[in-house]
Amino acid sequence: MLFNSYAFLFAFLPAVLAGWWGLSRWRRPRLAFLTGASWFFYAWWDWRYLPVLIGATSIDYVAGLWIARSESETRRRFLLAASLTTNLGILAYFKFAGFFFGSLNGIGSTLGLGAPLPSLHILLPIGISFYTFNSMSYTIDIFRRRVEPTRDLLVYTTFVGLFPHLIAGPIVRFTDLADQLKRLTPRLTSETAARGAFLLSCGLVKKLLIADQLNPYVGRLYTAHAHLGLASSWAAAVGYSLQLYFDFSGYSDMAVGLAWLLGFRFPQNFNSPFKAVNISDFWRRWHMSLSSWFRDYLFIPLGGSQRSARRTVLNLVVTMFLAGLWHGAAWTFVVWGLVHGFFLGSHAVLRRAGWTPRAVAVNRAVTFLLGCGAFVIFRSPSLGIAGDVLSSMLGLHGLDSSSQFAALVPFRFALLIGALLVFVNVAPNTWQIRLKPRVWQGMAAGLAAAIAVMTISQAHPFLYFQF
């Protein structure tokens, strides 16, 4: 079920809010209701994958309890390894088995050995990358003794399955929700409802009125990848970067808004990433819950930036390679991750040498252009297409003819890009807006949400659903 669907907005959400707040006197039935609703929400997509979610949840719940109970370090390590292997195994099977077999067959064909392995077409359970990471953070934190495991199965199932973050994040850690699940908000206050409604409408507007309006233009540009000139290729790169930002940050706003409506607080996922002044600042602002996950559970355990420059660069490249792979089983994501690893490593070296520019505007522009260039690889269906667009961006395919540019980059699209570039560089993000609720502001937000809802029939799925 999509957040931007009639079924969700006019049936599922009102029913869940009524049930959740109606049961506010009874804690356990309330949690059971929310878990059931979240599982229904998940099963709406494809009920056959619900057992995968329930299985992963059950294994990590038991693993968490056993790790906490165990005194033996070896046993604790073994249990953690078993939990991580299960989660990564599920992820590897559903997400990477087909890619791995396909790549091996490709190598086999190149070497003249044919395609010895069967080609797998496994349907990816939606949200698997997100809920496995939620679960893994739980067992790792228990192993590190940073969090007490919950004995209450309902608390754990609610944490993993909570529908606002289940499909596309933000990646929420148990530490973020443990206290909130222990002491559930007893009643829906006007402040909670106002904040939730505001964020939900911001998300709807970002997704439906901005990202989805960019989608056809960007799609057309990438389809015509072989015929792009200098300007149209830059329009493709910048257009997609903006589309992805408004799409995913819109989804995150909706998720956080829905959490508010249920009385939960989720962490921030985007903090004006296009205002970043260097690439490492960009990663502190873009998909923050994922980048902090990789920082805390991979980069720092690898040694972080505390060792030599060479080791820091290596750690960054390994971390970003895996972050790229997390996004999907395709070489484009692998290369995108490696490119960001290279950017981050280069920045670390330049910063140590004191060679980074001082002018904020220059830093911002360079970071934005590098990010847009990397997103070309992220968006392209293959590395060949990414190569076409990137070489056009470097001017290797010449300038656009005026008729071609007018056909590929219509005035409306160019205007939209220009306006959005100003907006992302000047306007505060949704978390920076200090809401001073007034009736007219509520009416404006409601009207904006209604206009967004009216475009639902032309809506596209959220881009991050594929991960």
Partner: protein
């Protein structure tokens, strides 16, 4: 009283005031959200641009030819001896030409986007109006033959409803359609034309259901450039990737043929043998489709063979326009022949109808 207590007491009214403004925000949000959507829905239902609700206050943006054809049928003094059924391609067939070829009177009951439910309703309604008359039929259809999707315009007409037991009323899907910006823009266009000014349909019909000569220029299928339209159709034919298995699967669904089965059974019960005509495809588009094996055609011909085992009808394959002397210039777009080609096609149909139209 300590300063701290004073602050705490002073905070109470402030907190109350804040809660009140927040309640105002939520109230304003909910009111404007639902009122805006309700207003849009009400506007679209009243204007009813796609004829989904059947309000009929202003003319619809889609062609209301189903009701027009039913009106014209009602107006006939004597029942037609040949009933022409089908979609927009069949609309070009002139009853006068059929009269010349066969000596029988005819009525063109083909409608835009027509399929089996439309044809079934026309057949039943004609039979109800002129019950003691045996009739001949030509049904123009496409690859895939039939669907059971009842067009909302047809379902909204009270004369058609008795023959459409499965027809949906104005449902949730239609609410979604009428909440959309697309429907609202269309409604506004209709509103501007028909309410703020006077509007009338540019497509008119003769009493025998055929299009008037002036209407031919305003048909939606009338392409500005035939060559460009054919180019697009060839590109789309090349991009098609469906398989024979997919088509066989689609054509095996019994629900798809519910209305066609009913119609053929009704005709055969009355001792009538219809002529089913497979519509022509522009030569270069057909060539592009055949280059990829054209599985849709094969599956359709298999389905026709299956239907032949259960019903009596004559099948005339007009897909390849070269067979009936069709000229590549006599098309209004890549999918619709013009009147000149239709005359040639009708001649071929009559000659190959094995006496079903005599």
């Amino acid at each position: 009283m300590s300063a701290r207590q004073a602050v705490a007491i002073g905070d109470v009214p402030r907190a109350r005031a804040e809660a009140a403004t927040q309640r105002g925000f939520v109230g304003g949000f909910l009111c404007s959200f639902f009122l805006a959507l309700a207003a849009v829905l009400a506007f679209n239902v009243v204007v009813d641009p796609f004829a989904l609700a059947g309000t009929g206050v202003v003319p619809t943006a889609v062609e209301p030819d189903r009701s027009i054809k039913l009106d014209l049928l009602e107006g006939l003094k004597r029942g037609p001896q040949i009933l022409i059924l089908g979609d927009s391609r069949g609309r070009q067939a002139q009853p006068s030409e059929l009269k010349r070829l066969t000596g029988h009177t005819a009525f063109n009951a083909a409608v835009t986007g027509g399929s089996a439910p439309d044809a079934y309703v026309m057949v039943r309604y004609a039979a109800a109006l002129f019950p003691h008359q045996k009739r001949r039929y030509i049904w123009f259809t496409d690859i895939g033959l039939a669907s059971s999707t009842v067009q909302p315009q047809l379902a909204a007409d009270p004369r058609a409803r008795p023959y459409l037991p499965d027809a949906p009323g104005f449902g949730l899907g239609d609410v979604e359609t009428y909440l959309s910006t697309g429907a609202t823009k269309t409604s506004w266009r209709v509103f501007e034309k028909c309410v703020l000014a006077a509007c009338h349909s540019l497509i008119r019909y003769h009493p025998d259901g055929s299009l008037t000569n002036q209407s031919l220029h305003y048909l939606p299928e009338h392409a500005k450039s035939l060559r460009a339209d054919v180019r697009r159709a060839v590109a789309s034919a090349r991009a098609r990737s469906e398989t024979l298995a997919q088509w066989r699967h689609d054509l095996a669904a019994p629900a798809r043929f519910a209305y066609l089965d009913r119609m053929l059974a009704f005709m055969n019960r009355r001792g009538e043998v219809p002529v089913i005509v497979l519509n022509p495809i522009y030569p270069s588009v057909l060539a592009a489709l055949e280059r990829h094996g054209f599985p849709a055609r094969r599956a359709t011909l298999e389905k026709i063979a299956q239907l032949h085992k259960r019903f009596r009808f004559v099948f005339v394959d007009c897909e390849d326009s070269r067979k009936w002397g069709g000229r590549p210039d006599d098309w209004t777009n890549a999918t619709h022949v013009n009147r000149a080609n239709m005359r040639r096609e009708l001649g071929y149909i009559v000659r190959h109808s094995h006496g079903a139209l005599r």
